[in-house]
C-alpha cells in the first residue's frame, strides 16, 4: 500500500527537524543563526501539532500552531530588536563575545 503515509513518519520528521534546530543552537556562533535555529525548532513542534490534529481529527492542534506562529512573530520582533541593540553596543554578532551583562 503505497498510497498512505504512517503518522510516525511525520513525527520522526518533526523530531529530526527539532534535533537539527538544537544542533544549530549548539554549534553555530552567529546570534542570528542561533535565533533561526529556534525558529526551526518551533517549526518542528508545529509539524507535530498539525500531525496530532490529523490523528485526532481535531482542529485544536491547528490553533496551537497558529498561536505558536503568533508568539514566534512577537519573539522575532523583540529578538531582532535586541540583536540590533547588542550589535549597536558591541559591534559583534558572535555569541561567544556576548557573555556578560555589562560591556
Amino acid at each position: 500500500m503505497m498510497n498512505a503515509v504512517p503518522i510516525s513518519w511525520f513525527l520522526t520528521l518533526s523530531a529530526i527537524l527539532f534535533a537539527l534546530g538544537v544542533a544549530g543552537f549548539l554549534f553555530r556562533r552567529n546570534i542570528i543563526t542561533v535565533f533561526m535555529s529556534i525558529e526551526l525548532m518551533l517549526n518542528a513542534v508545529n509539524l507535530s501539532f498539525v500531525t496530532f490534529a490529523y490523528q485526532h481529527k481535531e482542529v485544536s492542534g491547528h490553533l496551537f500552531t497558529f498561536f505558536v506562529m503568533v508568539v514566534a512573530a512577537a519573539e522575532a520582533a523583540v529578538g531582532l530588536a535586541i540583536i540590533l541593540t547588542v550589535f549597536k553596543g558591541r559591534s559583534t554578532l558572535n555569541i561567544d563575545d556576548v557573555n556578560s551583562m555589562k560591556n
Binding site: 490529523y54 490553533l63 541593540t85 563575545d97
Partner: protein
C-alpha cells in the same frame, strides 16, 4: 502518490534544515530556513491543514523570515568566525542520543495504525479555524493580541535611536 509527495518534501525539509545548520553565512541559513518552511507548508496541506499552510507561508516565510533577512542585510552580517570552544564533544553525542530516544518512543507510542491520506481530514479550513478561535480559544486569542502589542512596544523601545 501521497508517499512520494511526503518523501520529496520531507527530503527537501531535512536537506534545507541541515543547510541551515551547516551554512556559515546567515543569509544562506535564512533562505534554507525559508525552504524548510515552504516544504512544511506542503506537508501541512497533505495533513489537511489548509489555513495553517497558508499562514505558514504568509506569516513565517513572508513576514518573520523577511524580517530576519532584513536585519541580516541591515547589519551586513558576514560569515561567522571561529571563537571560543567547540561544543561538538558534549553536544553531538547528546544530540544523537536525544534524537534516537525521540525516534524510539515515537515508533513505540505511535504504531502505524493511523495512516495519513490527502483529504483524510478536511476540518482545517479557515472557517473551522475561525470558529474555534473565536469560541473555544477566545481568551488565548485576546491574550495573544496583548502579547503582540507588548512585543511591538518592546521592539520599538529597544530599537529606537537613543534620545539624548
Amino acid at each position: 502518490m501521497d508517499v512520494i509527495l511526503f518523501l520529496i518534501f520531507a527530503l527537501i525539509a531535512v536537506v534545507c534544515a541541515i543547510n541551515v545548520v551547516v551554512q556559515t553565512h546567515p543569509i544562506s541559513s535564512a533562505l534554507s530556513l525559508v525552504g524548510v518552511m515552504g516544504s512544511l507548508a506542503v506537508l501541512y496541506l497533505l495533513l489537511g491543514a489548509e489555513f495553517i499552510a497558508a499562514a505558514q507561508v504568509i506569516v513565517y516565510a513572508g513576514a518573520i523570515m523577511v524580517l530576519f533577512v532584513f536585519v541580516i542585510m541591515l547589519l551586513n552580517a558576514g560569515a561567522e568566525t571561529r571563537t571560543g570552544r567547540s561544543y561538538l564533544i558534549p553536544g553531538a553525542p547528546l544530540l544523537v542520543l536525544f534524537l534516537g530516544l525521540l525516534a524510539f518512543f515515537v515508533q513505540r507510542i505511535f504504531p502505524d495504525t493511523t495512516m495519513v491520506r490527502f483529504g483524510g481530514f478536511t476540518g482545517g479550513g479557515p472557517a473551522e479555524i475561525g470558529h474555534a478561535l473565536f469560541t473555544t480559544y477566545l481568551l488565548p486569542f485576546e491574550v495573544t493580541s496583548i502579547l503582540i502589542l507588548v512585543a511591538i512596544i518592546g521592539a520599538i523601545v529597544l530599537a529606537r535611536k537613543e534620545i539624548e
